[in-house]
Amino acid sequence: MPTWFKKVFNDDVAKATSPGVPASNGADAEVEKPVPVAPPTVDKPALGQPDTTEFEEPVKPKLRKIIHAPIIMDEEEQSSWSENIAIKARVEADRMTCVFMVDRPVLEGLSAWFPQPSYAEESSPLGKQLFAIEGIGAVLLHGMTVTIGMTDLCDRPWQELSVEIGQVIRAYLKTGEDTITQSFRDNIPPEDEIHLKLQACVDMEINPGIAAHSGVVTLERIVGNSVYLVMGGGCQGCAASEITLRQGIHNTFRNAVPQIGGIFDVTDHSAGSNPFYSELPAGMG
């Protein structure tokens, strides 16, 4: 019998609730006769009288918090950045997006999202050059990364596309010029204003919409024009949370404040008090 089974159905309980079961299955074991057990007596209130029996509040098990250990990168991976502009690419799981990690800042303190070429035309010289490559459908500049989205009709493999993208990024960064225009910078609202508008979206539109699934979204912080949010309740740990984020929340936020850049989900989807799957309460296991 597995150990976990014993924990759930421990022997004492099994014996107490099965009066006819013999204590041992051995050949020498004496077979006990079943002893009739009287049902427990309960003081019932007289007919017509209210039941005033007080029940003890059940003790809720204490939930354990989930912690993570820092992941250690291989030394080879860390030291492979060279003095030239080094770029590494990582194709995301959806195969439609590729993140280019550059060894120096591309856009510090802000992020810039261009969902189609016309958005980058007057706003980002680097974005404009990237859109000139066949098959590129969206560009996000953020920190030391350039995230590229492929168009639905593009059938070029990332290995091929990334060579051209790398050349454009490298050549542009060598010029030392800003990756976005001054007018684009000037149009970005202050963090407080972005927070206020997005909070209104969360309160009036997003949270009422996902409440049916016991979900809740919280704005964690705004940094420059980048948005960091936390998905809680039923959204936490839910496999569909990314669809909710990309198809619902992204559009709502961008309609409210078109100047926002990256939207990042910083939820720990493996922790929490009420995620889609539950962790062990303290003391169990």
Partner: protein, 116 residues
């Protein structure tokens, strides 16, 4: 999401010893390790194996039981063997597990990175 057939966990204990035989849980469901070699005394290493045969959202080492002292972990090396892919290894750094915490050691297979 890959199906995790089995894993090997190599845990090196730091200054404070851990439970004699740790246990783990997958998606909140408690299980015991298939095997344990070594121990969790300070400076020692324990090698644990498990076979969840399931799809993990969370895969945790359960921390010390109520009232038991905290477990000082110096490093963890986890090797995951998932269906339809090559096994992969992730190294993790120091962490302290107390009687109110579990350590999530599940890591999705790393996405391939290439030079451009």
């Amino acid at each position: 999401m890959p199906k995790l057939d089995s894993f090997t966990l190599e845990i090196k204990t730091g200054a404070k010893a851990g439970p004699e035989i740790p246990s783990f849980a997958i998606n909140g469901f408690p299980l015991e390790f298939d095997s344990a070699e070594g121990n969790t005394q300070p400076g020692e290493t324990i090698v644990l194996t498990g076979s969840p045969n399931s799809y993990p959202h969370s895969l945790v080492v359960i921390g010390p039981q109520n009232g038991q002292p905290a477990w000082d972990i110096e490093s963890i090396t986890a090797t995951y063997d998932c269906s339809l892919m090559e096994p992969y290894t992730i190294r993790m750094g120091a962490v302290t597990l107390d009687d109110e915490s579990n350590l999530n050691f599940w890591n999705e297979p790393p996405l391939p990175v290439f030079d451009v």
